[in-house]
């Protein structure tokens, strides 16, 4: 599990690999389109690709199977450093071959700032993975919310919550207490904890969803978000200190338990990754923690932005079905590519949705930035 999200201090040492000419031949057989790219740069050596990524993907890139496929089949050696999504859009690109943020807003901002890169065909982007923002709740919390009629069970067994109702409740001046909801073990008011939206993507996306709901389920814009900003900020200020990383929030939710974090908002991929990496605990996890899908939710999309040919060679490699399968089966990322199905029966996670279709678009990036600036102000 990653411990830092937005800290950009660590530049991994470049690992130099010598690749046999044979591999290039193999690549030629398997993926001719990529071969051209690889050969142009260096026909006999490994192509090194340096990316800036959102930290939730570091587990995937560190996965030995992934490294092997990239090296063996595509002659690629990828190293990365981590950075917050929005920060990536405006960072110094010296020596960087690709960006891989965790939302499309970062892509939008980057495009607006660098139109010439896309016009000239130098840069190219595609959404590689998707993961919906979900609510995780401990079982007694889910039961209480079901009893209160807030959470319902869909035909396929997934739990759902009406996002508009949830956001209205969270931002209401007289929120119900836990006791009102029948959770007598807990003191204080009903809440859903997020990461700090000004520092971390998953929190940012939950607040974007909140903004959409507060403008009557529409997509928040520069003009209609303004009126809702004080309400959103009141909610934000009342949260106190929030974690700066989705991974840390999830780790804290898991280890500190229901008293500390009755319910959180985070990526769907995290529970899958936890269950896959801790098979001996799968039963305990499944019996104690419930995924609740907000209806609608937002996608955390992972667009890979290739900045040059090296970046493009990674973008092409990521079309590989084996890599897409590893991303889903070991790291919980749903494929962002058309035509690839994610098989939920691979996991024994109750209520894992086979498909997530109730999704609302994010506000435009200018409205999102307006909101983040407002939250950050005193």
């Amino acid at each position: 599990m990653e411990t830092t999200d937005n800290r950009s201090s660590t530049l991994r040492l470049v690992r130099s690999l010598i690749v046999l000419g044979l591999i290039v031949v193999a690549v030629a057989a398997l993926a001719p389109s990529i071969l051209n790219t690889v050969q142009e740069i260096s026909p006999t050596e490994t192509t090194h690709v340096e990316c800036i990524i959102g930290s939730e993907k570091s587990g995937f890139l560190d996965n030995q199977e992934v490294k092997d496929i990239l090296a063996r089949e595509y002659g690629l050696d990828v190293s990365y450093r981590r950075m917050g999504s929005i920060e990536q859009a405006t960072t110094d690109l010296t020596g960087v071959d690709c960006l891989w943020p965790s939302n499309t807003s970062a892509l939008e901002i980057f495009r607006e700032n660098n139109p010439e890169l896309f016009a000239s065909g130098t840069a190219k982007s595609e959404i590689i993975f998707n993961s919906p923002i979900v609510i995780y709740a401990w079982r007694p919390i889910t039961s209480a919310l079901e009893d209160a009629g807030l959470v319902t069970e869909a035909a396929d067994g997934r739990k759902e919550i009406d996002t508009a109702e949830l956001m209205t409740m969270l931002t209401s001046e007289d929120k119900p207490s836990w006791a009102d909801l029948g959770v007598t073990d807990l003191f204080g008011d009903f809440n859903v904890v997020t990461t700090d939206p000004t520092r971390s993507n998953s929190g940012n996306m939950f607040y974007a969803l909140m903004a959409n709901m507060l403008v009557d389920g529409d997509i928040a814009t520069m003009s209609n978000i303004v009126e809702q900003l004080p309400t959103i900020k009141t909610f934000y200020d009342a949260q106190g200190r929030l974690e700066e990383s989705s991974g840390i929030l999830f780790e804290q939710f898991i280890t500190l338990g229901m008293g500390a974090y009755p319910a959180i908002a985070n990526y769907e991929s995290l529970l899958i990754e936890l269950a896959v990496n801790n098979p001996e605990q799968a039963d305990a996890i499944n019996s104690q923690i419930q995924i609740i899908y907000p209806v609608p939710t937002v996608w955390s999309s992972h667009p890979l932005i290739a900045l040059n040919n090296q970046g493009k060679s990674l973008l092409d490699a990521m079309q590989d079905e084996r890599l897409q399968r590893i991303a889903w089966e070991q790291h919980g990322f749903r494929s962002g590519l058309t035509g690839i199905q994610n098989d939920v029966t691979k996991f024994a996670i109750p209520g894992l949705a086979s498909e997530v279709n109730a999704v609302i678009a994010l506000p435009r990036s200018n409205a999102l930035l307006e909101m983040l600036g407002y939250l950050d102000s005193n």
Binding site: S8, R241, E251, A260, A284
Partner: protein, 538 residues
Amino acid sequence: MAKTLTRMLFIVFLAVLVITGCDTTSTGSIPEDRTLHIVSGSENQTLEPIIQTWASDNGYAVNMTYMGTVDIARMLQSGQVPYDAVWPANRLWIDYGDTHNLTKHVQSIMRSPVVFGVKRSIAERLGWIGEDIYMDDIVTATESGEIRFMMTSATQSNSGASFYFAALTAFAEKSGDVITSDDLESANVEADIKRILGTVDRSSGSSGWLKDLFLDQYERYDAMVNYEALIIEANQELEQAGHEPLYAIYPVDGLAIADSPLGYVERNIEGKEDIFLELQQYLLTEDVQRELLNAGRRTSTLGIQLTDANRDVFRPEWGIDVDRVIQPIRFPNAEVIQQALDLYQTSFRRPSCTVYVLDFSGSMSGQGEADLKAAMRTLLDQSIATQYLLQGHPKDVSSVVLFNDTIINGNRLDQWTVEGNDEAELRNLYLQIERTQAGNGTDIFNAALAGLEHLEEIRTQECLPSVILMTDGRDGGNGYSAFQSYVRQSENDVPVFAITFGDADPEQLRPATTLTSARIFDGTSDLVSAFRSAKGYN
């Protein structure tokens, strides 16, 4: 501004914390590139053998230094961290302190809630056994004198800070909500928090040391704020000694959980990161996690409740409740945390009554005398003291006894005493010290005794009393037996701390600090931090 000051403080602060009697080593002949330097909260001190065994089994050395978690956070803030790893009590303080992004691979090793441990018979008398207890119940009991308790300094240690923030949260305008700047400025909150902090009877700068102090002073005190794990450790010792154990209270409306994160500090030293990761992985193996569980730490991976706890360790009759849903408070953001810590220092804490007993004998002349004067200026010139979070409280009482082979200012001590924190008066006190010259012989314990007697005249009901003896420790007098019999006969509870200077000999001072349940701090390399350490105890 505040950050720059904090940074200044810690740059000078570090060296001494290393020296002030709290680091342990297993270096031997192991080279530096196989040595891991870890700075940790003192609550982990009893776990050190686990780490040292791992080190010797693998040909590494581990050098452990202990200090309060909040002090670790301030060190991170300064950007100057001469360690390879930090192991504070709560991740909150890494987030708060690590503004330079020095740490990575931060991972919780174990969990332990901060509880109020009170002698069982008192808990019984108060009807607390098995009941829901609120912060208000605790204040009522401590105020009525039913309970005399200890907690660590909130500006130095996580357990004290946790209890402080938990109390603030409980007393906030809407109890249970995250505290705000407005809460801290509210007269009601101020009154309530002063009520509870006003009843703290002894303090220390870190939680492990507090447990030791409590055991040492068991007859005099009834309760301490500490981690559940340290209440368990204390109870194991108390039971062995045939004493009554403590009963753990988990306040319903004000509780925090320590999650003991171990994090790597990037100093770009080749190979250290791998050694660190090896250690971290080792501590997270199933075997070590079980060992930690048996040492009273919660290591369940799913939630804080324990399903497989050893009931001989997590004993229900000690109030240890592993099935309870533990709901910690939510902490405010960094600015409000800073504001709360400042207010603790200058307003909310219990005031201090301190007699500084200063050595002006001939052996101090030169560097020792210069250092001593500089140190007193740091404390008494409030513009400097503020930079080091050593500023006075409006109800502090400060007095100075000067000595060589006699008490130099013995017949006019009232002129060397300042009540409160008036800047001009404190500065004037400093100027009087500045004008004093070193000379003649040394009678340390005669002076220490004079300090204790003088303290009885100036101390107020509400303050925490202490004597701080500043000397090179080269006693030429024969006053120790008189000092010793005074302490014993008067059942005096005042700690006599010693800060050593120049060519110091701490051994001559140790019997006095031991007798009064105090400590010796090394001021030879950094007085400011020695002061902060001593001040953590009052």
